[in-house]
Amino acid sequence: MTDKQQDSDGLDAFFDAARNTAPAPDAAFMARILDDALSVQAEAVAPPSPVTKREGLFSQILRGIGGWPALTGLAAATVAGVWIGVNPPAAVSDQLASLIGTSSATTDATDSDWLLDPLTEYDIAMTGG
C-alpha cells in the first residue's frame, strides 16, 4: 500500500480513489463465472472409469458356471437331490432295490418304517455274514 508520508508526487489520493471505486462484478457476471467453474468441474470429475478390481474366488466360480441363473438351477437340483435321498419316491426305491438285488417287497415298507428302522434286510444279511 502507499505510504502517505512518501506521497511526494501527490498520487496517493488518486490511488485511494481507484481502490474505493473498484469495478465490482455484478450478479450476472458472477453467475457466468460459477457456471464455467461447475461445468469444467463436472467434465473433470467424470463418472469413475471402470476399475479393474481383482476378482474373488466365488466370483470366478460363479462366472465359470454361467452366473446367477446357472447357480439357481444348480441350487434347485441340489435341493431336489437331497429331497429324493431323504424321501425317495416308490419308483426310485424299486429301481434301487433291483439294482442291489433285494426284493421289491422289502421296500414296500411305509416311509415311517423306513425312517424308524433304517436297518434293512440287506444290511442284516451283510452284517450277519
Partner: protein, 192 residues
C-alpha cells in the same frame, strides 16, 4: 464442507477441493477471486466489457488447471495476475490506440455524494492517465499501488527482478504525476 467454513481456507487448498469435485469450493473461489481478477483486468484495459471477457477467460484457465495445481508452489493470485496481464497484453496489441471516451464510469460504493463524485472523478482521471502509460509501467504501478502487492510478488508476476519492478513503478509514477498535475485542483486535491 459448508461454504461458510471456507472463508479461512487458503486459495490453493480450495483449488484442490475444487479439483476433487467440491461445488462449495467452486463458489468460494468464484466469490473470492473474481472481483480481484476483474478489477485488475479493468485497470489494465480501462474497459469494463473487455475486462469481463479477460476475467472470465482467466478464471476459466484456473478451473482447467486446477487438477494439475501443485499446492504450495505458487500463490493462486500471483498466477491469476500473470494470466490476466498476458490476456490484457494480447488485447492491447490488437487495439493500439485507446479511446478514452470508452472508459466507463467506475461504480460508486456507498459514501457521501460529494465525496463519492470526487472519488469517481479521481479514479477516472487516474484510469485515463494509466491508459496512457507504457504497458509494463502500468502493470507495475497497478500491482504495487492499487492491488497493494509487494515488489517480490510483482517481480514473480511480471517475470522480472525486484529492482526492475522498482524502476518501472518509479517511472510509471513520474509519468502519472505529470499527467495528473494539471488536474489536482479540478479534482479537489487541495481538500486533502
Amino acid at each position: 464442507m459448508p461454504f461458510d467454513a471456507m472463508s479461512e481456507v487458503p486459495d490453493d487448498a480450495l483449488l484442490v477441493l475444487y479439483a476433487n469435485g467440491d461445488a462449495a469450493a467452486a463458489r468460494a473461489l468464484t466469490t473470492r477471486l473474481t472481483p480481484k481478477v476483474l478489477g485488475h483486468a479493468y485497470r489494465l484495459l480501462g474497459d469494463r466489457a473487455e475486462a469481463e471477457d479477460v476475467a472470465q477467460e482467466a478464471m476459466l484457465r484456473l478451473w482447467r488447471i486446477a487438477a494439475e495445481w501443485r499446492q504450495g508452489e505458487a500463490k493462486v493470485t500471483t498466477w491469476l495476475y500473470r494470466v490476466v496481464a498476458n490476456l490484457c497484453t494480447d488485447r492491447l496489441r490488437k487495439r493500439r490506440s485507446v479511446d478514452l471516451d470508452s472508459v466507463p464510469e467506475p461504480e460508486d460504493p456507498a459514501m457521501g455524494a460529494e465525496q463519492g463524485l470526487q472519488h469517481v472523478a479521481r479514479a477516472e482521471a487516474l484510469q485515463a492517465a494509466l491508459d496512457s502509460l507504457p504497458e509494463r509501467q502500468r502493470q507495475a504501478v497497478v500491482l504495487r499501488h492499487i492491488e497493494g502487492l509487494g515488489n517480490p510478488e510483482i517481480a514473480e508476476i511480471m517475470d522480472i527482478s525486484p529492482r526492475a519492478v522498482e524502476s518501472l513503478t518509479a517511472r510509471g509514477k513520474r509519468a502519472l504525476a505529470e499527467a495528473l498535475a494539471g488536474r489536482r485542483e479540478e479534482l479537489g486535491y487541495q481538500d486533502d
